[in-house]
Symmetry: C2
Subunit: 199 residues, 2 copies
Amino acid sequence: MTTLGYAILGLLSREDLSGYDLTRRMAGRVGYFWSARHSQIYPELARLEDGGYVTHSVVEQSERPDKKVYKITAEGLDDLKAWVTQPPVPRPIRDEFTLKAYSVWLADKEEAARLYREEGLRHEEQLAHYEELRAWMQGAWREDLTSTDSPEFATYATLRRGIGYEKEYAEWCRWMADSIERREPSEKRKKSKSGKNGG
Amino acid sequence: MTTLGYAILGLLSREDLSGYDLTRRMAGRVGYFWSARHSQIYPELARLEDGGYVTHSVVEQSERPDKKVYKITAEGLDDLKAWVTQPPVPRPIRDEFTLKAYSVWLADKEEAARLYREEGLRHEEQLAHYEELRAWMQGAWREDLTSTDSPEFATYATLRRGIGYEKEYAEWCRWMADSIERREPSEKRKKSKSGKNGG
DNA sequence: ACCCGCATGTAAGTCGTTACATGATTCT
DNA sequence: AGAATCATGTAACGACTTACATGCGGGT
């Protein structure tokens, strides 16, 4: 079973969905850390059905084209459960943007500073979006978030990771831009542990 | 030109290297955010040479097999420079471990807590290793790190990103494990902004 | 003799992206 | 008539992984 398969099962464990619905959720990032196109999803659904992890039923619609709605099976759910706590083989991180930093010493200063300012903004925007979602979740799901066995908690947990990830990335971009512009890194309300930061 | 091509050029812009040497550096993560196997590197070197980005010369060795040492060309360096400040097309992040969190509500509590504790340790170990490297760099490269146009600064910059990444990941793992074990998240010497954290 | 480190390649297969392809229904 | 959304697929290609393959020289 592929990781994509488990991503799909993760969504189907919450609600029955068509390939089209799955595609929309996968575009908006499953738990913010996986994604796929419809061209990958449809064949994978066929494989999942072949393996007995999902079943489908055709739902006839009058105002739209008919659709196949997929449902996770008991075996699918068992497999998903077992996968969740199995430590994944560590795969190397590939981040083209950070790789660029490795050659930033060759770059024009002004262009480089602009690059990091802009990338920083992108991450701050994503962060702002995530923070809105968090505020909404904390309001709408107050009770659900107290137990870790609710799907709401799991969604919230991945969102937390997204928030941390974007925050850290944005901070690093600011530090890069500040360094390139030869300012003291902007220490916006940050920790002040021992003072030997900055390079 | 592929991203791997630029990763290789990034290394060759610092020193001439053989395919074997490149492989070792790519295993230890170029700037900690890219990696490749020798089976990908050798053909890529051939393509780079074909495109005029690198040249090679055979170095005869008496105590070891001969080797091809690659050198970046002026065109290669120009291309690398231009690439550095070009904003990359944003690729979706894929992180199987975080994806698992999206289905953690289905998991056995004890197993899940163990998973997050262990993954947290892995990130803390990586962080500790990075911090050692940082300490060493700050000692050995004191002057070089004051100017952003030194390769040492660029190496240090990607290391900073690695440190932030691992720190954030480890913190999230701790928060997950604590949540699953129903403790108040362990706020080890952390920021105390407004107090409405915790899910 | 055998294994290890150095050194360089090729082949098969998987995963993912982009593009190709079709068709229903609704709105303008 | 044409565009937009819903809906489901296939094909070609590129990137990456795993495995296959070979050969030198040094140490045990």
